[in-house]
Symmetry: C2
Subunit: 213 residues, 2 copies
Amino acid sequence: MEKIKVLLADDHQIMLDGLKAIFAKDKSIDVVGTAGNGLEALEFLKNQSIDVLLLDLQMPVMDGLETTMHVKKSHPEVKVIMLTTNDEGSIITSLFKVGATGYLLKNASKESLIQGIKDAFEGKKVLSSHLTEKMIESLHENPKPREGEIPKITKREIEVVKLIAQEYTTQEIADALFVSTNTVATHKRNLFVKMDVKNSVGMIKKAVDWGLI
Amino acid sequence: MEKIKVLLADDHQIMLDGLKAIFAKDKSIDVVGTAGNGLEALEFLKNQSIDVLLLDLQMPVMDGLETTMHVKKSHPEVKVIMLTTNDEGSIITSLFKVGATGYLLKNASKESLIQGIKDAFEGKKVLSSHLTEKMIESLHENPKPREGEIPKITKREIEVVKLIAQEYTTQEIADALFVSTNTVATHKRNLFVKMDVKNSVGMIKKAVDWGLI
DNA sequence: GGAAAACTCACACAATTGTGTGAGGTGAAA
DNA sequence: TTTCACCTCACACAATTGTGTGAGTTTTCC
């Protein structure tokens, strides 16, 4: 089997040494070079092809995010794994948007680093387990706007809400449901009170929040 | 080290045998019993304590979801990993809501099954890599309602959108921004055209979609 | 330094929304 | 059988929104 060619980029020499030591023990990974910042990494790529780029997020001269953008533009086949100390959720979105393949924390175990590189090489997305945790948490936090605090919305009212969300006017809703505009107005009136909002805009926002529509 | 006590629950005997065979090779995992459905699993728990419950989602008599609820109520310390063939995103939310620790696909590798049990035992959340992929994808799909198709919304217009979303009336917006109501009306007018909507409700829905607010 | 884009405002009018109040009918639950 | 939630409707009026048209400033950018 061909070895996986890896380039390391980090502005701390100690980190580079540590990573090299870790990967030296694995016979399927070959560290073909190191770089002190993103710019150096790009230079390296001009002369030599690699499979995986292990990239520190925080670097002077050119940080991980910017480097990723450039690398994916000039060498789209290279898998980029971001290595970082922090675990801000905010950055992660833009990270994958620019084409990164993975995101690992620096305090990850040797095994997960090695596994991460192998996974990335095979085309898999790589996420620090810590991040996975976070994502799961957000998963069951979102659809929970405090169970008990959602008032009872009746079937008919939900129909009205949905039509309002589709930009129907009161008249159009009345026609669609075969009732008078007065009835629709009453439903809206009741909904405003139940949902504690001032107008249709607020209503639709809460409805989305509550998963009503 | 104490072995991890695992109970398997699946309505297919073959599956149970297969799982037992897989775990037999690992010296830190001890399969202490098997069950053909959720009810049997609950019965088992009355007499013997376990660490991890590997549970099939589709089962007669009592399915995985319901079983999880009962188990977490009577034995909250037990880690439940759901095992399933399908990968519907829809179910996964409720799964973690009722307290499941993990969610793995049946076509997962032996290694990931074993690792999953170990991770769960240590209190980590476990997600099939396949699912992780999906989550990552959704991560950078959401904020991308077709890049090019989002029209240019100006700074001022965004301010207006945000205030509308907060149920401000035109008059209130005018006061907040120190401009006349006519100006606000013009901004709204332009926004309706740009965003191709009929009224404020539609506007706020798209604004949310587009990540404007 | 000139064009284009963004922001501002006016005025008038139609359309729609939101509010207040009152009330009749129906089905399900107690 | 009586209560109660839900759905229905009326009428009137205030408030707000949405539209049409035109135009004067300021920023921004080439």
